[in-house]
């Protein structure tokens, strides 16, 4: 027992000496050494370890971090440094640079009793000087060169010209700026750094910019451009692999390309959403033919191999025509090729800008202001008016602002898939900061554009410099005018979404184009959650022309302004990495007609009664989309020319403008295909034009039913939602006004086609 007692005592002493973390006289203080972090990139996390050890093998922990004289408090183990965040676990850390400045901090390590301090030196991270203004990537509330001091000064002078004294004018300008500044909302972005943190930067992907051109030698694009792979479709050019533009006042494609894949961390300009993606340019808009169109979908002969990691074709273009185009089966077959054959059969994604005609197009003149569409918040041109927006193989992309809400211009429709940042005009609200034709001799940032604005647009010297200071030659942040701060439109939204898709496919190259759609639908952000319905009062009731957000029975929420919401790169990449679903081959039904013979359903004027149609679908398909095809006629919907062979209609009909269509799925989800008050002015057209047709074999796409079951009864209602003349004038038909249609429009056919898994 004694021996036992002695032994136990020895053990107890030994244990006490070990457990007291050196409370005894023999404890040795921790030993530390200078630590350093270098070679970092903005927003890319790096792991490291504080150099510390303890001769006693005591457990060590970081007990303080000081940056200069400031002691920094950790929140959940994360220290907010002047140039990044430092997440600490034991002696390990993850540093994520948020600025390109260097710093040095003092860390203190303790064994519980004794401590030791040393320095952690953090070298400046590689970055891009304009990255901090790229709110679409990470929104900190930055102005992106809009709402500038020069603009403020302009406003003060403007108010003074209204006979306000200096003080009052400044007060007025300040109040106006405060209203405009409400669009600056931190956090309303694509969450791109989170994607980078997961290791996705666009590596091993290719994006094709189908546009006006692409300046191959641009300082911030060149390193990402695949050599000798671009196409110039203009016949007989010296180098058909060089689509570099010759335009004087900006090249659309060059700016689009920068949004997708401007080179990152090279100390030049900003960077693209997917800064490690590779680029090919095709100047389809500069020589539009069927051949160029086919090649721009990667058909044999385009130089694109089906084995290549071709992630996305971006198409920031479209037709803005005040009439409905017949669905084009030939175009659909071309679109299908890119989605089915490329990337070893997994398909390339096609992103398409939804259009900039929410408030107005160009050929309807004042129609959508006079008929109330603009005030009500109804889209003047519906995205579905353009056949390529209604195909199963393109993703239609809408545009949102730096407050997350709908831009003033983004064309709405049930066909929208997702939205992405694009902003307003870069003057009173942020637009995109992206690449521009190099030098101040050409481009959006150029002497030529300054002259154009000052002398043609505003008729006022200095206007351009006041409102677009970054674009004005001589700006300190844009000394060679190689960048612009005023690029916008759904032309910007589509490439931003394309960049996110490149990130997804760099994270998981096994995803098919349909997998990408599923992930985008599941991961996008519901912006503007309070987006309200728009209700119209007709003679006998109320018609909801815009539903706001609609949650379908599969749990997806869709909005005709936003699709499934704004793309979230971080979430999308996270889901991409974890994706295991197998969708199988695409199932697509035949067109299911409402009847075997032509219909003759009258659409009552100004009535919620409408013409009602039911179509039974028997296909067992989980929906990835549904298309609806209509023929709708009205004898007043005719096209004419005057003696000078100019389109002319002295008084035109409201028949097309008044048309509204709603669809209810078998599971009870409602989708508005046409809201009424849209610019359906011209008779339908396709390979020919169709007198007396509002819609001729016109196809609408709705994404609102994504994930629902297709099988069952689809209910369609076609309405006429107005009973009055519209006092709008001019436009493509040079009309003196629109007379309410005297005879009802007639639905002569309706059909449904569903597709999915």
């Amino acid at each position: 027992m004694q021996l036992v007692r002695r032994s136990m005592l020895s053990a107890a002493v030994l244990l006490a000496l070990t457990a007291c973390n050196g409370s005894g006289d023999n404890n040795i203080a921790p030993n530390t050494a200078p630590s350093a972090i270098s070679g970092t990139k903005m927003w890319i996390p790096v792991q490291g370890t504080f150099k510390a050890s303890d001769a006693d093998n005591d457990s060590l922990s970081i007990v303080s971090i000081r940056e200069g004289a400031n002691s920094i408090a950790a929140q959940n183990g994360v220290y907010q440094l002047s140039n990044g965040t430092l997440a600490v676990t034991g002696l390990n850390f993850v540093f994520t640079p948020t600025k390109t400045t260097a710093t040095s901090l003092t860390f203190t390590v303790s064994d519980g009793e004794l401590s030791s301090s040393n320095t952690l030196t953090i070298a400046a991270a590689a970055g891009d000087p304009l990255q901090a203004q790229q709110w679409a990537l990470k929104n900190t509330g930055q102005r992106a060169y809009s709402l500038s001091e020069s603009a403020y000064a302009y406003m003060v002078e403007l108010f003074k010209s209204f006979d306000q004294d200096e003080a009052t004018a400044k007060k007025s300008a300040t109040a106006q700026f405060a209203r405009w500044e409400q669009v600056l909302v931190p956090g309303q972005d694509m969450n791109v750094p989170a994607a980078y943190a997961l290791g996705a930067t666009g590596q091993n992907t290719i994006a094709v910019v189908v546009d006006s051109g692409l300046e191959l030698a641009h300082e911030d694009l060149e390193a990402n451009i695949l050599p000798n792979r671009s196409l110039n479709f203009i016949a007989n050019v010296t180098n058909p692999t060089d689509p570099s533009p010759t335009s004087a006042r900006g090249d659309h494609g060059t700016s689009v390309a920068g949004l997708i894949a401007a080179v990152g961390w090279n100390g030049k300009g900003g960077h693209g959403v997917a800064p490690d993606a590779k680029l090919i340019g095709m100047n389809f808009l500069s020589a539009q033919t069927d051949l160029a169109y086919f090649l721009s979908h990667g058909i044999p002969g385009s130089g694109i191999q089906s084995s290549e990691p071709l992630a996305v074709f971006n198409r920031s273009y479209g037709r803005t025509h005040p009439g409905a185009f017949e669905y084009d089966l030939l175009d659909e077959a071309v679109q299908e090729f890119s989605s089915v054959e490329l990337r070893n059969g997994k398909g390339a994604v096609n992103t398409k800008s939804s259009g900039n005609s929410f408030q107005r197009g160009s050929r309807e003149n004042n129609l959508c202001s006079v008929n109330g569409a603009r005030t009500l918040g109804l889209t003047c041109y519906n995205g579905n008016m353009e056949p390529s927006q209604a195909t199963p193989y393109y993703l239609s992309i809408g545009a949102v602002n730096s407050d997350g809400k709908h831009t003033s211009y983004s064309t709405a429709g049930a066909n929208l898939f997702v939205s992405a940042p694009a902003g307003e005009y870069g003057d009173t609200a942020p637009a995109m900061v992206t690449t521009d034709q190099m030098t101040c001799l050409r481009g959006y940032s150029s002497f030529a554009n300054a002259d154009y604005y000052d002398n043609v647009i505003a008729g006022e010297p200095g206007y351009f410099a006041s409102w677009y200071p970054f674009n004005s030659p001589g700006h300190a942040d844009n000394p060679s005018c190689n960048y612009t701060s005023s690029f916008n439109g759904t032309s910007s939204a589509a490439p931003n979404a394309a960049g996110v898709i490149a990130l997804m496919l760099s994270a998981n190259p096994n995803l098919s184009y349909r997998d990408v759609k599923h992930i985008l639908a599941a991961s996008s952000t519901k912006v503007d959650p309070a987006n309200a319905k728009v209700k119209l009062t007709l003679a006998d009731g109320e018609f909801v022309a815009h539903d706001g957000w609609v949650k379908n029975k599969a749990g997806f929420e869709h909005n005709n302004y936003y699709g499934f919401g704004r793309v979230d790169a971080g979430k999308a990449v996270e889901l991409a990495k974890a994706y295991t679903r197998n969708l199988g081959a695409l199932k697509m039904s035949d067109w299911v007609n409402a009847a075997d013979k032509p219909l003759a359903l009258a659409v009552p004027d100004n009535s919620v009664t409408g013409a009602e149609i039911s179509i039974e679908v028997t296909d067992d398909i989980t929906l990835e989309g549904a298309q609806f095809k209509f023929n709708v006629m009205n004898d007043e919907m005719t096209l004419a020319v005057n003696a000078q062979n100019q389109l002319f209609k002295e008084f035109h009909t409201t028949a097309g403008i008044d048309l509204a269509i709603e669809v209810t799925s078998p599971q009870g989800t409602r989708s508005v295909l046409l809201s009424s008050k849209q610019a359906l002015v011209m008779p339908a057209a396709g390979d020919v034009y169709y007198q007396r047709y509002i819609l001729k074999d016109h196809v609408f796409l709705s994404n609102a039913f994504f994930g629902e079951k297709a099988k069952g009864t689809w209910k369609i209602k076609v309405l006429d939602a107005n009973g009055a003349n519209i006092n709008a004038t001019g436009g493509i038909l040079n009309t003196k006004g629109y007379l309410n249609n005297k005879q009802p429009s007639i639905v002569t056919s309706a059909a449904v086609r569903v597709f999915g898994n």
Binding site: D290, D328, L330, A333, V340, L639, N642, F651, N725, N727
Partner: protein, 172 residues
């Protein structure tokens, strides 16, 4: 880049819409536009040439590599045929376009199309999507309306389209 409406627009807006006359729609004094094919109307007073072929004529419109100029030897419309470099006008947009001499075909029976195309002297440029889409090249003097009619007559052919060079799509 699009132009901002800015605040000035709201400050100076003075919209005063006309009141539509409450009369019945007069019979259209105008007539329906005539087309040669599709939505296109032939423009025999114009012709398309390359810059190298243009010996100083004023360019009416530049379309890709083609320059549209006045045709000094204007042919009678009735005697004209649609062929490579024929200038046409899109009646919907009012824009000029130039016929390329190529024909796009969508069909379910590529073999039949190829056989007929060969008989018509059309060269196959491209075929893809399991042969559903074919692009054919006609000779410089081929009457494109005539050959397209024959192609449309083939069983299984859905679409036959005369390719034109045209600024249909716009950047956004």
């Amino acid at each position: 880049m699009k132009l901002s409406t800015l605040f000035l627009a709201t400050l100076v807006a003075t919209t005063s819409p006309l009141v539509v006359a409450q009369t019945s729609t007069p019979a259209d004094a105008a007539t329906a536009p005539q087309t040669t094919f599709g939505v296109y109307q032939m423009q025999p007073a114009l012709r398309a040439v390359t810059a190298e072929q243009n010996s100083g004529s004023q360019v009416v419109e530049q379309l890709g590599a083609m320059q549209v100029i006045n045709n000094n030897q204007a042919a009678d419309l009735a005697d004209s045929k649609v062929q490579t470099n024929t200038v046409v006008r899109n009646v919907l947009t009012g824009e000029l376009a130039v016929v390329t001499g190529r024909i796009s075909v969508l069909s379910k029976d590529a073999a039949s199309v190829k056989a007929v195309a060969s008989r018509l002297g059309l060269k196959q440029l491209h075929s893809f999507n399991q042969g559903k889409v074919l692009m054919l090249q006609a000779g410089a003097d081929t009457d494109l309306l005539a050959v397209t009619e024959q192609l449309k007559a083939i069983s299984g052919v859905t679409t036959v389209r005369i390719d034109v060079l045209e600024n249909k799509q716009e950047s956004r």
